[in-house]
């Protein structure tokens, strides 16, 4: 039964075959069916990578579904086949961006795809609205990576005046603080090392 996952054989897909695509013979599952689970379970058992073709590698559906759910209004729902479909679209998107970036790399005789290549590819392919936000996210990511490496562990206790909430990192930062040219203005005071001093209840950070 293995081999061709894009089978059009209804009996292999185990469906009562209600739907077909116009010219492509894509048999999809009728809504009331349990559906074929095969496609999205590649979480573990990646042992035989050679058997996985490009179109078989997907991101975990739970993660994808969660992002979708958070994007649409709270009262909205998502059909199961829509989730699976976005899962496939995602792999397609990644390949789309990657091959464009890779091509540029080759043209410039480089072997490693870097951040610039990715951003450039996005611009070229019509996703330039992502570029600016992505630069900001990259800054935050770099800060986070730096913070993890050398400096003593940040011990966040109830005694600290300022809590490290998620909000600190999801809200867009004021334009003045982050510079796109790579200079890091460390305004986040609380990432410097801090030793827990017993008996100190409240500490204020300006």
């Amino acid at each position: 039964m293995d081999g061709d996952s894009s089978t059009t054989d209804a009996s292999q897909l185990g469906i009562t075959g209600e739907y077909m695509a116009g010219s492509h013979f894509v048999l999809a599952q009728a809504p009331e069916d349990e559906g074929d689970e095969g496609l999205d379970d590649h979480e573990d058992g990646n042992g035989s990578k050679d058997n996985l073709r490009e179109q078989d590698i997907y991101l975990p559906i739970a993660n994808v579904a969660r992002i979708m759910k958070n994007a649409i209004p709270q009262t909205g729902k998502i059909a199961k086949d829509a989730k699976e479909c976005v899962q496939e679209c995602v792999s397609e998107f990644i390949s789309f961006i990657t091959s464009e970036a890779s091509e540029r790399c080759h043209q410039e005789k480089r072997k490693t795809i870097n951040g610039e290549d990715i951003l450039f590819a996005m611009s070229t392919l019509g996703f330039d609205m992502y570029v600016e936000p992505l630069k900001l996210y990259l800054q935050k990511f770099r800060e986070a990576m730096k913070g993890e490496k050398g400096i003593n562990t940040v011990t966040v206790t109830e005694g600290m005046g300022e809590e490290l909430t998620d909000e600190t990192f999801t809200n867009p930062l004021p334009a003045g603080i982050i510079t796109a040219d790579g200079q890091q203005q460390n305004v986040m005071v609380y990432t410097t090392s801090y030793q827990q001093i017993p008996g100190v209840q409240q500490l204020q950070f300006s």
Binding site: G17, E18, Y19, M20, G22, S23, H24, V26, A28, N46, E54, I57, L59, N63, V64, I67, M68, N70, A71, I72, G76, A79, D81, A82, C85, V86, E88, C89, V90, E92, F93, I94, S95, I97, T98, S99, A101, S102, T112, I113, N114, G115, D117, I118, M122, L125, G126, F127, Y130, P133, L134, Y137, F141, A144, G147, V154, T155, V156, L164, D166
Partner: protein, 118 residues
Amino acid sequence: MSAKNMEKVEQATNRKNISLPMSRVRLIMKSSPDVSCINQDALFLTTKATELFVQHLALSSYKNGSGKETNTLSYSDLANAAEESETFQFLTDILPKKILAREYLKSLEEMEKDADNL
């Protein structure tokens, strides 16, 4: 450290702010032909961009969708978005519009009839 503090430290170190597995993204990237090395920034940017893409696609399709009593995002909403939006055009091959089998068979029959009538 108390359990609560452990949790806070974990939150603090989890500030990379992504919800998709980068290792899996790397796998997909490497399955593209001629891709040798991907640096850390590129991997992060791709992963984050993918999140933005999912949000973008989901929300566009939903808003553009049937909009009637059903507040459910369906496959056809996605297929429509792919067709109508320039940004999502690259998805049209993997998002073919679906028709009911019986409608297709009917149109097949009609095509055959036309062929016979020639």
